[in-house]
Structures are given as structure tokens and as C-alpha cells.
């Protein structure tokens, strides 16, 4: 007993269990949390280097700030906090428990008189009668009483609100329980195993069979949280856990098959719900479990929970037409591809790899102005995202839309492209002909690419000229036009402007010359366009739509100069295969955390809304049969809270309320 007592008062324990240390730790925890929210966690290291530069990147990495919540020092602060609270509870429990059960019936008359709430008086009744009366009164108001004979009289000691102390235990033990529960679910054991060298993250995206054996986690792992994408009709018996800069592969004791995956959309095109019909099969099951899961409705099986968390593409089949953009050929080649697969292409202009990355069924964009129906969003319909990589490994990123888009009455085929992640996407709009096809534009482009075709147009103007001087002039003009159109075809309007900057030194004249060039060029290209139109049938006079088509074509040719590899991929059809993104967890700590939480809530209410209060009534019988009384009260927090009630009882006990000691205004 003595030993225990001395241990409890050991300076180290006193320090660890002190509120000052607890507060310091709490503040550290709060600061770490702030850092964790301000510094984006678990991004690729490369992006941190760009953000902070190599020096600070290293400093922050050493401090483990890129994954604060599983940093060693963070866990150490948490552990110390647990220790601190445990020590506090340990130090306090004995006297708190004693306090809960004690009536403090040993309080002496002199102490009662000194209390903040204390009155004295006399009554003519005998002490036994007053005792019964007072006991009844106390009990009616929720106090528990104990009667003790002392100080030449009878003491009724009463108490209420012992639950307050219980609240202290509940809240503090709850926090310890919650942290322990969370620890059960944390990945700390992998970190330990990593130190011991038995676990290593896999960083490559490779086939499951090739994964580093040290990244394979056996079925018996008792807690994890991982995710897996399963295409429709396929099944999986592993999940991937993110760990360090890579992942671990967790084996499951069952297989999950995704039979069907569905996304429903609102009329705006935003997703409304997504759900999967799944079949869970395990050796111990007589019948496989068939069910449907959706967001906010997981499947619980044994200690596992299977959540619908996202969706992606499960290898949609994409049919494409590849239009050559720099040849005089007008027939596209047909290709078949699959999302997440790569197609190699050998073309006369070089070798390319077409990487199909994703198929999106909806593209909802915000409109600057509400449309006719008052909607502020618009759905551009499905699109395919892909990259085209050249032989040097340089890639451009594209997103091509399947549906034609309308702008002011004309229809276009839309494509977005950019050269790097850092750039914004740029739009290419190719005008569509009356058949909603690219044919006319592509034929026009082929004419533009075809030197002979252009020569023919330009020569037709010269042919009839007989005057040799003029003919010579026209020849010069023709060569100039050819150069101009070539320049435009290769570099666009910017190319011509660039040329002018050298050719015309006076900056203020450039715009005028530019417009002249534009006119010359337009005349030539109009000739080509007319020829293109004539391929469709005789043209008497061009109509408004055809003229607009021409203007749009020139704009498109201009954009094409920045479009990258000279192929346009037209998506002709997509056979959609979806993949359901599942998250599968095993978290034995969850119920522990919930239990702790319940305790915490109950404890908090006990602490705040149960007030520990005590009353004492000392009855001292006098010789003449009357009784001398001392009535005292104490509130665990603040005597003022008890005072109105105390005054009320004073009246009921027929004592004149005396001046209350210790009351300060």
C-alpha cells in the first residue's frame, strides 16, 4: 500500500500526468494537424521538389511532413498523450472513487460552520423528528443520505451528483480507448516490418505475378484499408494498399466479382448514384453472397467491409479513324483500341504510340450564361482521353468528344489538347459538312497540302496572260503566294506575323501588310475551297453556310499548326466497359473506437450536467428537548450554483436564513 502510494507520487509520474504536459502535447498535436492540412499530403515527391526547391524539400522530407499523420514523431506525441492521460487517471482514481462513495460524514461542526453555505438555528422539536423530516426532504430532492452520531448529536450527510466524477473517468478513459482503437487500424505494423526489412513497397505498375514478393501481404493481416478497380464481369481477390511511394498487395480470403456496374445521372449530367452488383465467394460459403452496393451502402462480411468508392474505365473498346493531316490523301485508316492499352503506329511521318487513357460518358461544364432553359451547366457528352507519343517519348495529351458541338448554328467536331500538364487545354474545332462528317474539311485540307492542286489553281490565273512582263509579275506573285500558304500551313497566322517582324521593320505598317497578305492568301485558298465544293457537285454561288465553313476551316488549319503529331483521331464508336472502384477494409479497431466514442459522449454530459453537491445537517439535542441545528452545503464547482436551492431548503427546515459567509458580490 505504502509502495503504491509512493509510486503514485513519483515526480516522473506527476510530470507525465500533469495537465501542463497534456496541454503542451495537445498544442503540438494541433500544430501538426494544421501542417497536415496546409501541406498537401502524400503527393508525388517530384511535385514537392518543384514547390519547395531541393533544400527545403529535403528538410521537409526529413521531418516527414509529407505524411505527417504517420510520421514517427507524430505517433510519439500521440503515445505520450496516451501515457499522460493514463497517468492522470492512475493518479486520480483512488481519491476520486473515494470521493464518489464518501458522504464526508466525518466533517466536524467547526468545519460546517466555516463552509461557504452555512446557517445555524434552533427548533423546538426533538432531534429525531427533525432528522426524519430532513431526510425525507433531502431524498425528495434527489440526495442520498447517511446518518451518523457525532459531536454530541446526529449528522445527516447527503450527497448528489457522484456521476460527475464518473464523467472524468469516462472521458479520459474514452480518449485512451479511441487512440488504441485507431492504433489497431493504423499501418504502424508495416512500418515496423519495413524497418526489419520484411516489407517493401512496390513502385512499378506491373502484372500482379511480377510484384515484389516483399510487397505481398498475407490473408491473416488483421487490419487494412485498400482499393481495387474491377471491370464488369471480372473478379479480384486482392486489394492495393498505398504505402510509402508505392503500394502493397493485400490478399483477400474471398473473391469479389463485379457482375454489373451502373452510374445514374441527373438531368444535368452530374452523377446521381453509382452502384455495383457484386458476388462474394469464399470457400466457407455454401452459397455465394449476391448483393448490390452503392455509395453509403457497403457490404459487411465478417470483419471486412466492401465499399463502392469510385468508378473508372474497365477497358472500353474504341473504334477510331486516323486522318492524316499533312498528306494529300483523304481516306482515313481505321483502328480498334482499348482503354488502358497502347497502339503502335508506323506512318510515313514517323512512329507513334497511341495510348488510350480513359473514356468519360459525361462532360458537364459550367456555362458563363444560363441557356434557354435557365440551366447553367451543359453536358458535352462522352469523350475519350488519350496521349500520342512520338519516337522520342514526347507525348501530347488529347481529349476528343464523340458528339458534334453546336456554335451559333454550325456544327463542329471538338478536340482538346495540350503539350504538358502545366498548360491549359486548347480547343480545336473542325467544321462538319451537311452530312455531319469531316469529309469536306479533310478534302479541303488535302488540297491545301497538295502542291499540284495549288499550282493548278494559281496557274489558271496566269495561263491566259499573254503580256510577258505581266506574266513575269504574275509568276513572282504566284511563288510568293505559294510561300505564304506554305508558311501559313506550317506555322499559322503567328508564322506570318513572325515573318513580317523581320521583313517589315516599321512596326506600325505591319498590320496593314499583314491584311494585304491575308487577302492574297484568302483568294488562293478560296479557289481551293471552291474546287473542294465542286467535288460534291456543281456550285453556282456559295451560300452563307458554305462561306462560314470556309472561315471556320481557315481557323481550324491555323489551330492545327499547334496540334502536334499530324494525325487527327476521330472516335467513331465506343463499346463501354466500366470498372467499379471498390474499397475493402478490415478494421477491428472500429468497434473499439465507437465504444470509446460512446463513453466520451456520456462522460462529457456527466461532467457538464451533473453537479456534485453535498449537504450536512447537524442536529444537537438540547436539555429542554429543543434542537440546535447547523446546516451546511457545498457545490463541487461553485457554491453560488447551489445557493438558491440551499436557501429554499433552509426555509423548508424552518431556519432563518442567515447571512451567507464567503459570498462576494
Amino acid at each position: 500500500m505504502d509502495k503504491k502510494r509512493s509510486l503514485k507520487h513519483h515526480p516522473l509520474l506527476t510530470f507525465i500526468g500533469s495537465m501542463n504536459l497534456a496541454i503542451v502535447l495537445l498544442v503540438m498535436l494541433a500544430i501538426a494537424s494544421v501542417i497536415g492540412t496546409i501541406l498537401k499530403q502524400n503527393e508525388a515527391y517530384a511535385s514537392y521538389v518543384i514547390k519547395f526547391g531541393p533544400f527545403w524539400f529535403d528538410v521537409f522530407r526529413t521531418l516527414e511532413l509529407y505524411d505527417v499523420y504517420s510520421a514517427i514523431w507524430f505517433l510519439a506525441v500521440l503515445a505520450f498523450l496516451l501515457l499522460s492521460i493514463s497517468a492522470c487517471v492512475w493518479r486520480n482514481w483512488a481519491h476520486f472513487v473515494r470521493d464518489m462513495f464518501s458522504y464526508q460524514e466525518h466533517t466536524h461542526a467547526a468545519q460546517l460552520q466555516k463552509m461557504g453555505l452555512s446557517v445555524q438555528g434552533a427548533r423546538s422539536e426533538d432531534s429525531a423528528q427533525i432528522r426524519d423530516e430532513a431526510q425525507q426532504l433531502f431524498k425528495k430532492t434527489g440526495f442520498k443520505c447517511k446518518v451518523e452520531h457525532k459531536d454530541a448529536g446526529t449528522l445527516i450527510a447527503a450527497k448528489k451528483g457522484a456521476g460527475h466524477r464518473l464523467g472524468y473517468f469516462f472521458t479520459h478513459i474514452a480518449i485512451v480507448i479511441i487512440c488504441l482503437g485507431a492504433l489497431l487500424d493504423s499501418n504502424i505494423k508495416f512500418k515496423v516490418q519495413e524497418w526489419m526489412g520484411s516489407v517493401q513497397a512496390e513502385t512499378r505498375s506491373i502484372a500482379l505475378t511480377d510484384v515484389n514478393p516483399k510487397a505481398n501481404i498475407a490473408v491473416d493481416n488483421n487490419s487494412f484499408r485498400g482499393s481495387v478497380n474491377i471491370p464488369e464481369g471480372k473478379s479480384a481477390d486482392v486489394v492495393f494498399l498505398t504505402f510509402k511511394e508505392g503500394y502493397l498487395v493485400q490478399k483477400l480470403p474471398f473473391t469479389v466479382q463485379v457482375v454489373d456496374f451502373r452510374v445514374e445521372h441527373y438531368d444535368t449530367g452530374m452523377p446521381k448514384s453509382f452502384e455495383s452488383d457484386i458476388i462474394l465467394n469464399a470457400p466457407e460459403l455454401a452459397e455465394p453472397i449476391k448483393t448490390t452496393i452503392y455509395v453509403n451502402k457497403p457490404l459487411y462480411y465478417k470483419d471486412y467491409a466492401i465499399y463502392q468508392s469510385s468508378f473508372g474505365d474497365g477497358g472500353s473498346k474504341v473504334a477510331l479513324r486516323a486522318w492524316p493531316l499533312v498528306s494529300n490523301q483523304t481516306n482515313p485508316s481505321k483502328l480498334m483500341g482499348e482503354v488502358n492499352r497502347i497502339i503502335s503506329m508506323n506512318t510515313p511521318i514517323g512512329d507513334y504510340k497511341l495510348e488510350l487513357n480513359d473514356y468519360k460518358t459525361n462532360n458537364v461544364i459550367d456555362l458563363p450564361e444560363p441557356d434557354a432553359n435557365g440551366r447553367k451547366v451543359k453536358n458535352l457528352g462522352p469523350s475519350v482521353q488519350f496521349k500520342v507519343r512520338d519516337a522520342q517519348g514526347q507525348a501530347l495529351e488529347y481529349e476528343n468528344y464523340l458528339l458534334a458541338v453546336e456554335r451559333g448554328g454550325a456544327w463542329y467536331q471538338a478536340s482538346k489538347f495540350r503539350r504538358s500538364m502545366a498548360e491549359d487545354f486548347q480547343f480545336l474545332l473542325l467544321p462538319l459538312d451537311e452530312q455531319q462528317s469531316l469529309n469536306r474539311f479533310m478534302r479541303f485540307l488535302a488540297q491545301l497540302n497538295d502542291r499540284q492542286s495549288m499550282d493548278a489553281i494559281l496557274n489558271s490565273a496566269i495561263e491566259n496572260e499573254t503580256d510577258p512582263v505581266k506574266r513575269e509579275q504574275l509568276e513572282t506573285q504566284k511563288r510568293f503566294m505559294q510561300q505564304l500558304i506554305n508558311l501559313f500551313r506550317l506555322r499559322g497566322f503567328d508564322g506570318i506575323r513572325g515573318y513580317l517582324e523581320q521583313a517589315v521593320p516599321e512596326a506600325d505598317k505591319r498590320e496593314q501588310v499583314f491584311n494585304q497578305y491575308l487577302e492574297i492568301m484568302t483568294v488562293a485558298m478560296q479557289g481551293l475551297y471552291l474546287k473542294t465544293l465542286e467535288q460534291e457537285g456543281p456550285v453556282v454561288e456559295t451560300n452563307e453556310a458554305q462561306r462560314r465553313f470556309f472561315a471556320d476551316s481557315i481557323e481550324a488549319v491555323n489551330t492545327l499548326t499547334a496540334y502536334g503529331p499530324p494525325i487527327f483521331f476521330e472516335i467513331t464508336s465506343v463499346d463501354h466497359r466500366e470498372a467499379s472502384g471498390l474499397q475493402i477494409t478490415k478494421s477491428p479497431g472500429k468497434d473499439v473506437v465507437y465504444f470509446g466514442s460512446l463513453l466520451l459522449v456520456i462522460g462529457t454530459f456527466l461532467l457538464f450536467y451533473v453537479r456534485p453537491q453535498r449537504l450536512w445537517l447537524l442536529l444537537q439535542p438540547q436539555n429542554d428537548g429543543s434542537t440546535q441545528l447547523i446546516f451546511a452545503g457545498k457545490d463541487g464547482k461553485d457554491d453560488k450554483l447551489l445557493q438558491p436551492f440551499f436557501d429554499h431548503l433552509t426555509q423548508q427546515l424552518q431556519l432563518a436564513s442567515a447571512t451567507i459567509q464567503g459570498e462576494n458580490s
Binding site: M19, A22, I23, L26, V27, L29, A30, S33, V34, G36, T37, I38, Q41, Y69, A182, D185, R225, Y266, D267, T268, M270, P271, K272, S273, F274, Y294, V295, N296, K297, P298, A305, Y307, S309, K376, Q583, T585, S587, K590, V593, Y594, S597, L600, V601, T604, F605, L607, F608, K637, K640, Q643, P644, F645, D647, H648
Partner: protein, 395 residues
Amino acid sequence: MTAGYTGQLTLLQSLLSVRGILWSLFIIFASWLGWDRYGELMNANDRSYETGILIGVTLGGIAFGLAWKSMQSLMVAVLIMTWIGIVSYAAHGDSYKAQETAFFLKFLFSSQSAIMWMNFLFIFAMVTYFFALWRDSSFAGKVATGLTWSAVAFGLTGMGVRWRESYLINPDYGHIPVSNLYEVFILFAIITALLYLYYEQKIRSRSLGGFVLAVISAAVSFILWYTFGRDAAEIQPLVPALKSYWMKIHVPANFIGYGTFALAAMIAIPFLWRHRIEQRGDSSNPWLTRLPTLATMEDVMYKAIAFGFAFFTIATILGAMWAAEAWGGYWSWDPKETWALIVWLNYAAWLHFRMSKGWAGTRMAWWAILGLLITTFAFLGVNMFLSGLHSYGSL
């Protein structure tokens, strides 16, 4: 400040009075009516939970009204106003566009109009409270209290009608209006005002009204900017992750916490002011008779924070339980979650200093104000500056 001991009336005793019985029957009738009319709109898969929540709300409503009599008149007024709104829509073929033509909707009870009334009344109430304090006018004080109650009534009506409107626009869109920043700001203004009104009755002084209404008016200014600058009042469909009965309980519980923390911080201002006057020893200063005593204000601050802390604890735990169901983990260190923890730790420390170390006075008052700054960041700053799983309320 020692109020006489009036005897404690238990909830059971007030339930068994004539008024208590009438009140309970009224609430049960209103709930039944709601269930009868809209029962089939409850999300079919969660229907048992939704029914459970409805029963909980009914019992909670009864208890609330019994514990705080003023609630009864408020709830009756709100239910009648909301009913007029819903019926007006029904009379116009349940067309959402009716709010542009039907008289009651256009000028009073469509969610847009009702919320505009709330905004106006709150600001008017703040001005009136300050006027009452300045002129020491008890009449103006009473008017201010009336304005605040009316603002609350209009705000709750606006929320109720908005709930209905979301179904009128498109049954697919239907949801309780606590799903985005615009809607929760309204909730914040209403809850903070109700908390204030409760303490106003408790301490029998209207002198703190202007200060508390100032933070509500700040919220109102935000609502106005958000409405006109960003068109935020438009009813949007819910993202899949929010389609859950959890939203109905997690969000309001959170805002009880936010409301009390704001209330405590605003009371800290007159507290510090009075403290300065007292320090100067200027006992003839007229403000000393108008403002409540330091002890009273301190007590309200403490009670508000304790109450809010308890609810904030519940809200955070409910949030964790919802996250476990929606995101697959009860704690993901998402910025919003993390800031909720920071707020919680802050007030846990505040309560420790007060309960165990006996800190009091100006230090605690300043800390309460600091607490509001932290809370505001958790409430608004996270949405503005940090991204994460809680991206629904982004600005």
C-alpha cells in the same frame, strides 16, 4: 444575480399539464401529417432510418417545447408559415415557377423571400438591440427581441419551404437543405439566434443582443453576397456521397457547436469592455448598470461553450461514423475532419483551464474570441483554401 429558487419543474410534470398535452398532440399531428404526405419520398433503402429520425425529431420537438416554452409559439408559427408556402405551391400545380407569381410565395414564404426576410430582420434586430443599449430603452429591447424571433421564424420557414422546393424542381433533386455552404450559413444564423434568445431569457437582460446579432449579421452579409454575387441560392442536386440519412443529423449537430462558440466569443466582447471600465474604477459609468455583471457573462460563456462542446463531440463522432460508411474509413485526416479535431482540442483545453486550473476573467474571454477565429477557419477557411474529401461546400 441570484435568482430565487422557483422549484424545478421536471419535463414529466410539464408534459402532464393541459398545455403540455396539447403541445405534444400538435407535434405528433404535424409529424404524422408530414409522414402521411411525404413518407414515400423517404429514400426507400434507408426508410427505416428515416422513420427513426422522424420519430426522434417528434420526441425531441415535444421535449424541446416542454423545456422551453417560447419554442412552442415559434414552432407553431413556423409550421403554419411553411404550410402556407407548401399549399401555395400546390395551388399552382406544384410548379416551382409559382414563386414568381403567387402572392404568398412571391412576397413572403417562398424560400428565397422568407430567407430575405430573415436577413433583413436580423440586421434590423441588431441595430435595434444596439439602440436599446445606447438609449437604455427597454421598449426598444423588447422590439429587438421580437425582431429576432421573427427572423428565426422566417429562416426556419425558408428552410422548410426550400426542402419542398427541391422536390418541386425535380423529385430527383429532393433533399434537406443542409447540403452546401449557402444552406448551412442560414442554419448557423438561426441556431446562433435561438441559443442567444435562450440565454437572454435566462439572464433576463437584452444588453448582449447587439453583440451576438453582430456575428449573425456578418453571416447574413455573407449569405447576401453569396446569393447575389455567386448565385448560390440555386438548388443543386446532391452528389452521391451526400445521399445519406447521416447528413440530417451530422450537420445540425455540428452547427449547434459552431453557434455556441460564436455566441461565447461575442459575449467575450462586452465582458472585456466591462472589465476595462471596472478596472478604471469608474463606478459611475452608466454602462455598468446596463451590461450584465462580469460573473453573469462569464457564466453564460462557460455554459455556452460546455453545451457546444458536448454537441461538437457528438457531431464529430457522427461525422466519423458517416465517413466510415461513405468513404470506407472513420478517420482519413481530411482537412475538414482535421480542423474539427483542432477546434475540439482547443475547446477541450479551454474547458480544462477553466475547470481544473480555475482560470477566469480576461484570459478566458480573449481565448473564447480566438476560439471563434479557429472555428471560422474550420467552418469557412477550409472550404476556401484547402481541398479534400469534403469538397461539397467549396466556395
